[in-house]
């Protein structure tokens, strides 16, 4: 968790304070606009002075994000943002460090860095904009593109199995994993707040529409009319239930495998055997099972999959420094140079 700094901001900041003078240059209708606005809206709530935020990104449409945030920002190189962010956070744990990446930046060229920043549990927030396409380079497929999808680099259709960002993050040992949707302001803001509050690497997949190269890829869950059937909102302590009245269904995970349970409106889902959502399981197995839920058989879960507490990497590193100083005293150059065997010549 970025050091809580409540009270250090004299006057409460507003969304405006987080806007820059740079013209926002995404295509009209791009899902990135909504994410930007919601981030700018949520940040003032944290009571952290603006200068303590750093946004770090790779390369891609989404990675232009830092230019539009009136905070510190670093638009780095393709795929490596997690490594830059790690250096920043280890150097200055008091900063609130946010990584912005895309499905190409974060899961194609940058997959390994994302894996390791998550594994190490560095206390950063990771926003992965998943539009299932390379936007900036004009329409090649990405590691999350659907099988069979035709695009510039695979004109006969994609033959790679798509990666699920949530499963990937859990496989990496993530302590916090969430999924949200570009146009769902309330859900997005909620997840951003939770990500910020989490003391470790907080991984957030944001389903994002690219109207130019992959329009409608998340339509079912973006559209208010179909969202109830297509989405499964995860609420800690509540059973895994979705669907409109009269079509309610629950999900039960038994012997590791999820299956649907049809529910009459008056049924008590828990009594009917529906699994109750628990983001705090020590074992990631449960969250993994959730991660495997996907259309067409299942709805898309959104919200927080997992939120487990473990000391963060930069805290453990700082502790080594503190311990070393405590046990050995602060290092002195004189002492170092004269350590071990020396002799004098007169």
């Amino acid at each position: 968790m970025s050091e809580p700094a409540v009270g250090t901001v004299e006057t409460k900041l507003t969304k405006k304070d987080f806007e820059t003078d740079q013209e926002v240059r995404w295509c009209p209708g791009c899902g990135d606009y909504s994410v930007l606005a919601n981030v700018q809206r949520v940040l003032p709530e944290f009571g952290i002075p603006r200068e303590r935020f750093v946004f770090v990104s790779g390369i891609g449409c989404s990675s232009r994000f830092p230019y539009y945030m009136n905070t510190y920002g670093f638009h780095t190189i393709h795929g490596r943002a997690p490594a830059f962010a790690t250096g920043i956070k280890l150097a200055r744990p008091e900063l609130s460090v946010w990584i912005v990446t895309g499905d190409g930046d974060g899961l194609s060229i940058g997959g390994n860095h994302l894996l390791h920043v998550i594994r190490r549990n560095v206390d950063v927030q990771i926003l992965l904009f998943n539009n299932r396409i390379y936007g900036l380079t004009k329409g090649q497929y990405s590691p999350t593109s659907q099988l069979g999808m035709k695009n510039k680099s695979m004109p006969m259709g994609v033959i790679d199995y798509p990666l699920d960002p949530v499963a990937f993050a859990l496989g990496a040992g993530a302590t916090f994993v969430a999924r949200t949707v570009d146009v769902d302001s309330a859900g997005l803001q909620d997840v951003l707040r939770r990500a910020h509050a989490h003391p470790g690497a907080a991984f957030v997949e944001i389903l994002q529409n690219c109207p130019v190269y992959n329009d409608g890829v998340w339509e079912a869950i973006e559209d208010r009319r179909t969202r109830v059937e297509a989405g499964l909102p995860l609420i800690h302590g509540e059973p895994l239930v979705f669907g409109a009245k009269g079509r309610r269904r629950g999900i039960r995970i038994e012997h590791g495998t999820p299956r649907l349970i049809a529910l009459a409106d008056e049924d008590d889902p828990v009594a009917a055997g529906v699994t109750v959502h628990d983001e705090r399981h020590e074992s990631p197995a449960y969250a993994m099972a959730l991660a495997t839920l996907a259309p067409p058989d299942f709805p898309i879960p959104t919200g927080v999959f997992r939120a487990a507490e473990r000391p963060s990497y930069e805290r453990l590193l700082d502790e080594q420094v503190t311990t070393a100083v405590r046990e050995r005293g602060p290092g002195t150059l004189e002492g170092l140079l004269h350590s071990g065997d020396t002799w004098s010549v007169e």
């Binding site: 750093v54 390369i59 780095t76 490594a83 920043i88 140079l337």
Partner: protein, 628 residues
Amino acid sequence: MNKAQASADRASKTQHPQNPNERKPHERLERVAIRFAGDSGDGMQLTGTKFTESTALAGNDLSTLPDFPAEIRAPAGTLAGVSGFQIHFSSTDVRTPADQPDVLVAMNPAALRANLADVRLGGMLVLNADAFTEKNLERAGYREDPLPDVRERYRVVEIPLTKLTIAAVADLGLSQREATRSKNFFALGLMYWLYGRPVESTLRWIASRFPDDVGEANRRVLMAGYHFGETSELFPVSFEVPPAKIEPGVYRNITGNTALAWGAVAASTQMGRPLFVGAYPITPASEILHELAKHRNFGIKTFQAEDEIAAAAAAIGAAFAGHLALTVTSGPGFLLKQEALNLAVVAELPLVLVDVQRAGPSTGLPTKTEQADLLMALYGRSSDSPMPVLAPATPGECFSIMLEAFRLAVKYMTPVVVLSDGYLANSAEPWRIPDTAALPRSVVSYHTEPAGFAPYHRAAETLARPWAIPGTPGLEHRIGGLEKQDGSGNVSYLPDNHQRMTDLRHQKVAGMARDIPPLELRGAASGRLLVVGWGGTHGAIATAVDETRADGGEVAHLHLRHLNPLPSDLGDVLGRFERVLVPELNTGQLVRVLRDRYLVDAQSLTKVQGQPFRIAELRSAIARLLED
């Protein structure tokens, strides 16, 4: 051993030369080079290190070089498993571990076979006779016993080293295997006697280091070796190498890798800013990471990243956040970092990259030395990406070069490359510990003033942009790899701005030449031949030039520590000589830069064998150019 003890030792040795082998005559020698060689498991590195310490205490100047096998532990007795350690010590100056050892201590046939060709003809071979079994000869690839032939050309001393070791510890109740483990101490003790080295410090070290029984065994075997020399008929004389005239001060042995690490620590203490180290293990640079990781109590944060790219990126991130940032690697890793370095060039952030060069290309000969990354350091990034490049000349200079590298990086807000090499990394020399109070100290300050702040507003002389770090109120700004508008730092696609920024990046680095002191030559300031070197070949070239001059050859030596920008008086200096020779452990890299820049017809002497230059090779190349 603490300093006081050490100097007491030294004092007792030099003031009361109680040579314990009084009963045999001893000869005075100016210099000796000994190579210890055995199986990887035979403890040759330890033996060499202890001999070195004792030799330092004896007041000689010295230089050492270990030679590891590439395998972690190759099968015992094979050529691949041979591990060696060479020490060259003298009563006068020593600058290299010597071309050819005068003495080879060989613990088995493989060690003999792997090293024999290097030994000076007529030199002494001290062999463990017990190891010259048929099986071992075969393992070493000998078809027949080589000794009859070898005895004709060298002074061969065959000692039943294993048996004598076992005998020495017979009553300690150790297993035979345990007992024979100490046999390197027999060889060490024998060499101590032979060259009149003090044994006390080694005895103390044994006492402090090993559990009681093993310690006792080692002690006994060491002394057994020592007394063997004294009593055995095999050695009619012992030798004396009198102390060298050495500048007064407190000394220690140091390798290039340790000195690089400590130089980085010194930069941190002297500049008053914490050190961040991003690294991914790679031979022969890993030890720098290991050494720095030990010193958390300096506030040093070392970070073993998932790969070299991440190591460089994390370091650049830490630099953005205000730390002194270091990344250490070797050639294949350097290459992977280039994209991140390119970003540091455009973002104009301070960073030091150390490349401990090794033999390549590709995986190459990972434990061997080479100087073949210079052109990559200068030109290996996409597009026009100027970056300063420094190179230390000696293990000890590795310390000061790091201070210089960090100073330049911060002063000019730029990444800086330091090119060390596998030879400097592992070879050791006595190093006079600098007076830390006298080291320059200047705490780096960040930019904090919001009024008139612009991330790419440059200082007039250095052209450096301000170091404005996250957390500073009122300086919020964004940087990145897209071309920046000069001043504001906003993204700019304008043609003229791109030209301007490209020029500024070049001018900034070129302007660093102001910080380079005037060149100093070894030898006359003009004349027939100038030998220009860089990096770890310094010792060999200096020795070759000195020897040639002593023989009346008209030759001078210029050693470059700044490879980019080049010193502003370099063109002048080159112009004052009829001929220029550039010896390099590559196929000719600095020579290309000099020819391009100064249009001098510099000649190249190259060697690409994973080995340092021999002085003899250099001397004959110099002689050839002086002749025709």
